[in-house]
């Protein structure tokens, strides 16, 4: 899944006409609730935002689940460290309550811990819920719109110009690298391990050279197009706030906040 494809999906999403501020606010609100809430609420958030992404925005489930599986894979790799504990046989009695399953290995007792399982569950729910919120943003709000929101809320212009240029030229760079890589491969540049290293070195060197050349050309173009020192563009896009989506978002968020609050009260 390359960044280009993600970008294409964001441009084609069915929630495109909603104002980007609404979508960003919604995702941020859910993210904040995720940090405060307990596991059931977090799972509810993950499920709810996934419906927004897959059903309302029309992002293909295969793509979305594949993206989500990256997070799950990271979570799985951290499981052993969380769940498996080892302890000296002599101290076994002190952790007896925490042992779920275990066996003796030499002088040690290796076991799966109740607390570890619980922690892993909490971590998993929180990780999945918060990445689902982030995926909602990157899959429904094109990067250029995020930038224009940042500009409106008063982010420094220099920072935004830099991000804008990077966003434009990262694709040129990727394409150049890709072309070089293909050209090298078609001439057998990556056949052996030694050649592989040599070709990669060439590729990186060439990429630097071409970047410099590109930089010179870009400054010519910018001048030719009347660059005055600050980078300004306009657009005429019209957004349509949707009553139905706003209502669902507000209602859902209120419910989640109430559930979280209730959890705390009951917990005390």
């Amino acid at each position: 899944m390359s960044s280009l494809q993600i970008d294409t999906l964001a441009y084609g999403s069915r929630l495109r006409q909603l104002p980007p501020e609404h979508k960003l606010l919604f995702a941020i609100a859910l993210l904040l609730i995720t940090y405060a809430a307990q596991v059931p609420v977090q799972l509810a958030i993950a499920g709810w935002i996934s419906i927004w992404t897959m059903v309302y925005a029309g992002i293909p489930a295969s793509v979305y689940l594949r993206l989500l599986s990256i997070t799950i894979a990271f979570w799985l790799t951290s499981l052993p460290a969380l769940i498996v504990n080892g302890i000296d046989l002599s101290h076994l009695s002190s952790v007896q309550a925490d042992v779920w399953q275990g066996f003796t290995w030499g002088n040690y007792y290796v076991y799966l811990s109740y607390r570890g399982v619980q922690q892993a569950g909490e971590l998993g729910a929180r990780a999945i819920a918060s990445t689902a919120c982030l995926y909602f943003v990157i899959l429904t709000v094109p990067f250029t719109e995020i930038l224009s929101v940042l500009r409106r809320i008063g982010c420094p212009a220099l920072l935004i110009e830099l991000m804008m240029m990077m966003y434009r030229f990262i694709f040129v760079l990727l394409q150049t690298a890709n072309q070089l890589w293909t050209a090298q491969q078609s001439r057998g540049g990556y056949r052996t391990r030694k050649l592989w290293m040599k070709s990669l070195g060439l590729l990186i060197g060439q990429l630097l050279q071409r970047t410099l050349k590109n930089y010179r050309q870009i400054s010519l173009t910018l001048n030719s197009r009347g660059f005055t020192g600050d980078f300004r563009v306009c657009h005429s896009r019209q957004y349509q706030p949707s009553r139905r989506y706003s209502f669902e978002a507000l209602f859902g968020c209120t419910l989640l906040v109430m559930l979280t609050g209730w959890h705390y009260v009951v917990g005390i």
């Binding site: 280009l4 970008d7 294409t8 441009y11 094109p142 990067f143 250029t144 930038l147 804008m164 240029m165 966003y167 434009r168 694709f171 040129v172 590109n214 050309q217 870009i218 010519l220 173009t221 910018l222 001048n223 030719s224 197009r225 009347g226 660059f227 005055t228 980078f231 300004r232 563009v233 306009c234 657009h235 005429s236 896009r237």
Partner: protein, 284 residues
């Protein structure tokens, strides 16, 4: 005369040979000019000088009769009146969406936003970009990028349009679309100069031809006059458009085959017929 180069010299700092040497070239107002020559003959350098991006190291460039000035304000003014479309659209498109990219030059002129939006919208309809307006630039095909880069420049309503190999990498269909667009632009009163390698295209489209070699102007004139100088063009290894080649071959075949009854008198293609055939291949 719209733009004049008087004995202009320019040498790149890294190159031993001058890119332009004592080049004198005058671009007449209202014409469709083609600039022909080999790679590295100085076409692109000429364009960069015409846009005030480079300063001549010797000689002078005149815009509408007065020498070009290189202060910030004059350059801004010049670059609005002289539009330059670069060969590689990848370099020209700097903003992230088509619409924003077209607005870039207008925003630089400091126009108010409603006017910018109105002119951008008009350019988008003129260049059939409505479906791509909100599209990010990196999603476009090369042909579409070329179209956007032309719209970028034309939205500023320049008096002189410079095109650096506009048909490079374009297929037949896109080339044809481009030529139609250029015809409309010319009819609106814009002078156009196109650098190209395509002799047939130059013959068919241009009404004034410049031939550059090693940074100097070797020949200029109407297409008929220029391409009649076959031996000079052959010595520059440029050749002539296909239609001239075909006519010359036919004439040669006729002169060898003198027994044929119909052409016994002339042994070649009659002058009038030749001119008529040549005219058919020109665009009107």
């Amino acid at each position: 005369m719209l733009l004049e180069f008087e004995k202009v010299n320019y040498t790149y700092p890294t190159s031993p040979q001058p890119a332009l040497q004592s080049l004198t070239l005058r671009i007449p107002r209202g014409k469709r000019c083609a600039l022909l020559g080999h790679n590295g003959c100085g076409k692109t350098t000429l364009f960069l000088l015409a846009n005030g991006l480079y300063k001549p190291q010797g000689g002078a460039v005149h815009w509408q009769g007065s020498p070009m000035r290189y202060d910030r304000h004059s350059l801004m003014d010049l670059r609005q009146k002289v539009g330059l479309v670069f060969q590689d659209p990848e370099q020209q498109l700097v903003a992230s969406t088509v619409e924003e990219d077209i607005s870039y030059g207008l925003c630089n002129l400091g126009l108010p936003e409603p006017e910018v939006n109105q002119r951008v919208e008009k350019a988008i309809t003129t260049f059939n970009l409505s479906e791509l307006a909100a599209c990010p630039v990196h999603h476009l095909s090369l042909g579409q990028k070329k179209r956007v880069s032309l719209a970028d420049v034309m939205v500023l309503q320049p008096e002189l349009l410079l095109l650096d190999e506009p048909t490079a990498y374009l297929d037949q269909r896109h080339t044809r679309d481009l030529m139609t667009k250029l015809r409309q632009i010319h009819e609106m009163g814009t002078t156009i100069v196109m650098a190209t390698h395509d002799l047939d295209l130059a013959y068919c489209w241009a009404d004034w031809i410049f031939i550059l070699d090693h940074g100097t102007l070797v020949l200029e004139g109407t297409p008929q006059d220029v391409f009649a100088q076959r031996s000079l063009l052959e010595s520059l290894q440029l050749g002539v458009p296909l239609v001239f080649d075909v006519l010359d071959q036919v004439a040669e075949a006729l002169s060898k085959n003198s027994e044929q009854a119909e052409y016994q008198v002339t042994h070649s293609i009659p002058e009038q017929l030749r001119n008529r055939i040549l005219d058919v291949f020109r665009y009107s």
